[in-house]
């Protein structure tokens, strides 16, 4: 029992322009050499019939977006002001693109696409493929089009989404090659009843339903039932933002980003909340989390759940950590910090190395118990970390802990 490999096709004609659809059905690899769809060797008449059928099953009402006036005109009729508006929109969209870190999953111009070959297709030439209205809906609510998508819901304002959509459909990296850029004609599909029936028959014989849900086509193999997805609380967020695409929790998920199973013991509630709302750079040389624009409330809900449940049971601290250490203790810790050479890998206030996380505000981020545990057993705290085990005594570790606890945002 498995879910389907490909996206549902019910509204495909709202998503892509028909010329692209024709080319794709004729030979998927002509659009994308890494396409995971086989070449079905369809004849011209069959492709046209399939497009007719797909047009007939699409929703008649697809949400329309209120674009700015200039976008609804032909490019030839644009005034200079319109072009300026376009530039503004593109640069606005680019900012959103950067903050959202789309290239983690999507490859563009040969770069990016780190997570998994199944997650996120290449966006090169995307401007020649998708319709702008669809892009808006997709970014706004991905699961409304494709319930099993890995794409998170970014919680952007409508204006920002519009800018992003303009960026994706007008900026250079996404434009199809010169020779494909001529006027994209619509292949006006005939909605004649016989043509639609022929299209349906072709789809049935070509076994499209093995990978795609197609409205009106009978299933042939057992398909995994779609689980009812949670909508509220922590699990609702997990499902909406698709954290498990990159993170692992209790053995389930991806391995691009750190494992979260024990982060409740490690991270402070306040820090988690702030981070989820506006992710900071923790490890300068490593991956960077996208900005999902979670609200304060959502961030707090997630942080609370993590604090209460994602705990590790093996820290076994045998010392008590004073919440307000004295100045002399902190200074003792500072001596150990420089004595052991920690700044070779860690930076504090811009001084030090970039191998390990920046420790400038580590006191805001890490729980004191975790800091002590980590200093005593670095390789149990972080498997495969390059941090050496200095064999610190409890006293030394405690002093160092007090020093690090006091590294906070002033």
């Amino acid at each position: 029992m498995r879910p389907k490999n490909g996206p549902p096709l019910t509204n495909i004609v709202h998503k892509v322009n028909q010329r692209w659809l024709y080319q794709w059905l004729k030979n998927p690899k002509s659009h994308d050499p890494t396409a995971q769809m086989p070449n079905l060797q369809l004849e011209d008449a069959e492709i046209r019939a399939i497009i007719s059928y797909l047009t007939s099953i699409a929703d008649t009402m697809f949400p329309k977006v209120s674009w700015n006036a200039y976008l609804l005109k032909d490019e030839e009729d644009w005034s200079d002001e319109d072009w300026v508006q376009l530039d503004l929109a593109i640069s606005g969209g680019e900012k959103v693109w950067r903050r959202s870190r789309c290239t983690i999953c999507h490859m563009v111009e040969g770069r990016g696409g780190f997570v998994n070959v199944r997650v996120g297709k290449s966006l090169s030439k995307i401007a020649g493929k998708v319709k702008r209205d669809w892009v808006f809906q997709w970014i706004k609510e991905p699961q409304s089009y494709f319930p099993e998508t890995f794409m998170p819901r970014y919680r952007l304002s409508d204006d920002l989404i519009k800018d992003l959509a303009v960026y994706l459909t007008y900026a250079d990296p996404f434009l199809p090659y010169e020779e494909e850029q001529e006027n994209i004609d619509e292949i006006s599909p005939s909605l004649d009843v016989d043509q639609i029936a022929f299209g349906k028959r072709t789809i049935e014989l070509s076994r499209c339903i093995l990978c795609h849900d197609v409205k009106g086509i009978r299933e042939m193999m057992p398909v995994a039932k779609r689980e009812d997805e949670p909508s509220g609380g922590f699990f609702g967020l997990l499902n909406d933002v698709r954290c498990l695409t990159c993170h692992t929790i209790a053995g389930k998920g991806g391995d691009y980003a750190p494992e979260l199973t024990f982060e409740g013991s490690k991270l402070k509630f306040g820090w988690i909340t702030d981070f989820l709302a506006a992710p900071d750079i923790i490890r300068p040389l490593s991956q960077q989390m996208p900005r999902f624009n979670l609200t304060e409330q959502e961030a707090e809900t997630a942080a609370r759940f993590i604090e209460e449940n994602f705990l590790r049971a093996d820290m076994n601290l045998e010392v008590t950590i004073n919440a307000n250490p004295t100045r002399s203790k902190i200074e003792a810790g500072e001596k150990i910090y420089s004595g052991k050479g920690c700044h070779a890998c860690h930076a504090i206030q811009g001084e030090g190395g970039a191998v390990g996380p920046d420790l400038t505000t580590v006191g805001d981020r890490l729980e004191p118990e975790y800091i002590f545990f980590h200093l005593k057993h670095p390789n149990r705290a972080v498997p495969f970390s390059p941090e050496p085990n200095y064999g610190l005594s409890d006293e030394e570790a405690l002093a160092l802990t007090y020093f690090l606890m006091s590294r906070r945002k002033q």
């Binding site: 498995r2 490999n5 995971q36 769809m37 086989p38 070449n39 079905l40 060797q41 028959r201 014989l205 070509s206 076994r207 093995l210 042939m220 193999m221 057992p222």
Partner: protein, 517 residues
């Protein structure tokens, strides 16, 4: 009353009595028969249940859900009877199978699966099982399946096959089954290689693997009824019965009788001059070899229960200095990169045994090592020589002792590989030395990368024998013939000599006898 009337009424009464008592008796008898009938039915059900729990439950589960203890090791998995979805039926799509369908499945089995034909059961036992199996789904109580018409309505000669070939294209059979029916159509190849799904469109060439039988009638039935729960759906809605017969005839014409040999000795033929080292060399078509049946390696973990490669064809030539083996097998996908690659290996005992005792066929044993020649698709023209004394102690030979060369091509779903090595090497302690006129044990292994086969997850064979044909046959006969001639002449000369020495010939004696008379 007159006498006539009296007799008449008596006879009427008697008739009445007779008929009523007869009908009463008959009813009683009938009731008895029905009672006996249902007793018999219950007995049959009981017997069926006992048979089922003895023979079937290990795979199909005690409740018929296909979840018996053996089920996790099987591919394809055993039927879940509670779903009432049966693949091999003579009834239309969505219908239950007939009792005969179930009986046939039990007694003929499904080739290529763990469901063997249960011919140790008597006919009565088979029907008892059918009765019991029907209790697993309530649908059997409510529905009476009607078989479709399976009588051939057209003649299936050459014209039929040509029309069938057109239909094969029009119905898009090639998408899953491939242009030539090898089960390598674009959908199958994509599902297996890109999506890592065990998508099993039948290789139509392998007649021995059709689950529901491989006659034209069987093919017609499958096309018409579809295999429930698979993409091989019923095509009754797309073709007339005549068209389905044409298509069945065409599919039947694709079949070939290839299967594992019953022979044991592979003869390597002598050539003077260069050995054919390219798989495309014409000379490979001039020598005979045979097909080896391979099975999945299920002796030790990690086991391979759903092996892909089950037939390997092998031929061999040798010359004064070297020996070459030509290996050929079906593989839908060419996998040259990544962790799991297509591969094949030959195995020989390091020391050719004098008697029948050979090293353990599964990679040797301590004290009786085997010499392995392993070729992997990623290394293309290089093969690795290894030595093993058991599957846990396998060592790659040092560089100087690597002497096996390879040449391989993959085309249209078939690998063809030639492995070549000198007959004699310096490393006698690890390498097999190929002596003429001896029976040299040989065994085979193969891997299909697309099925994630690697290491011990492989298909393998047991020991066969290889012999290097000697070419002195004619000389032997010549010498023998000359020897006989010489001996006869010698004997005749000896006889003449003895006779002369005795002084008397037969003729002289006879004349003397006559004259003296």
């Amino acid at each position: 009353m007159s006498r006539k009337h009296f007799l008449f009424s008596v006879s009427m009464c008697l008739c009445l009595i007779f008929t009523t008592s007869a009908s009463v008796l008959a009813q009683r008898e009938n009731r008895g028969r029905t009672a006996a009938g249902s007793v018999e039915a219950t007995q049959d059900l009981q017997a069926g249940r006992i048979l089922y729990e003895k023979r079937c439950a290990h795979c199909h589960g005690t409740e018929g859900r296909g979840d018996g203890p053996v089920a996790p090791f099987l591919d394809p998995t055993p039927r879940d009877f509670t779903s009432a979805q049966f693949k091999i039926r003579s009834t239309p799509r969505g219908s239950l199978p007939t009792d005969q369908d179930l009986f046939d499945a039990i007694t003929d089995g499904l080739p290529g699966t763990a469901m063997e034909g249960w011919d140790i059961l008597s006919e009565k036992q088979g029907w008892q099982l059918v009765r019991y199996i029907k209790t697993f789904s309530q649908r059997f109580e409510k529905e009476t399946p009607q078989p479709i018409n399976l009588r051939k309505s057209v003649s299936v000669g050459t014209k039929a096959k040509a029309r069938g070939k057109e239909l094969y294209r029009q119905m898009k059979c090639f998408l899953c089954h491939g242009e030539e029916g090898k089960g390598d159509g674009p959908i199958t190849v994509t599902m297996r290689s890109v999506w890592n799904l065990a998508f099993d469109a039948r290789n139509l060439i392998r007649a021995d693997r059709y689950k529901g039988g491989n006659s034209t009638e069987d093919i017609y039935r499958t096309i018409s009824t579809g295999l429930a729960g698979t993409p091989m759906d019923s095509y009754a809605g797309y073709m007339t019965p005549e068209e389905r017969w044409y298509l069945a005839a065409y599919v039947k014409s694709l079949q070939s009788e290839r299967k594992g040999t019953a022979k044991v000795v592979l003869k390597s033929r002598y050539v003077s001059g260069e050995l054919p080292i390219d798989p495309d060399d014409r000379r490979w078509e001039e020598v005979e070899g045979f097909a080896i049946a391979l099975s999945g390696q299920v002796i030790n973990r990690p086991r391979l229960v759903n092996h892909n490669i089950d037939l390997l064809e092998v031929k061999s030539y040798y010359n004064e200095g070297e020996i070459a083996f030509f290996l050929e097998w079906d593989d839908r996908t060419e996998t040259r990169e990544g962790v799991f690659q297509d591969a094949v290996a030959l195995q020989f005992p390091t020391k050719i045994p004098e008697g029948p005792a050979k090293p353990y066929f599964f990679m040797g044993q301590p004290g009786k090592s085997v010499n392995l020649w392993q070729w992997e698709a990623g290394r293309d023209s290089l093969a690795t020589e290894l030595v093993a004394t058991g599957f846990e102690s396998v060592k790659i030979q040092p560089d100087i002792s690597q002497q096996v060369n390879a040449k391989a091509t993959w085309k249209d779903g078939r690998w063809r590989v030639v492995l070549r090595r000198p007959l004699w090497t310096r490393e006698r302690s690890v390498d097999t030395q190929f002596e003429k006129g001896k029976l040299i044990p040989i065994a085979f292994s193969a891997w299909d990368g697309a099925n994630q086969e690697i290491g011990l997850r492989k298909s393998l064979s047991s020991w066969y024998y290889l012999t290097l044909e000697t070419s002195r046959a004619t000389q032997v006969y010549l010498y023998a013939f000359l020897g006989i001639l010489v001996t006869i002449n010698l004997q005749l000369w000896l006889i003449r000599k003895v006779r002369r020495a005795a002084g008397i010939t037969q003729r002289v004696d006879a004349r003397a006898a006559v004259e003296s008379a």
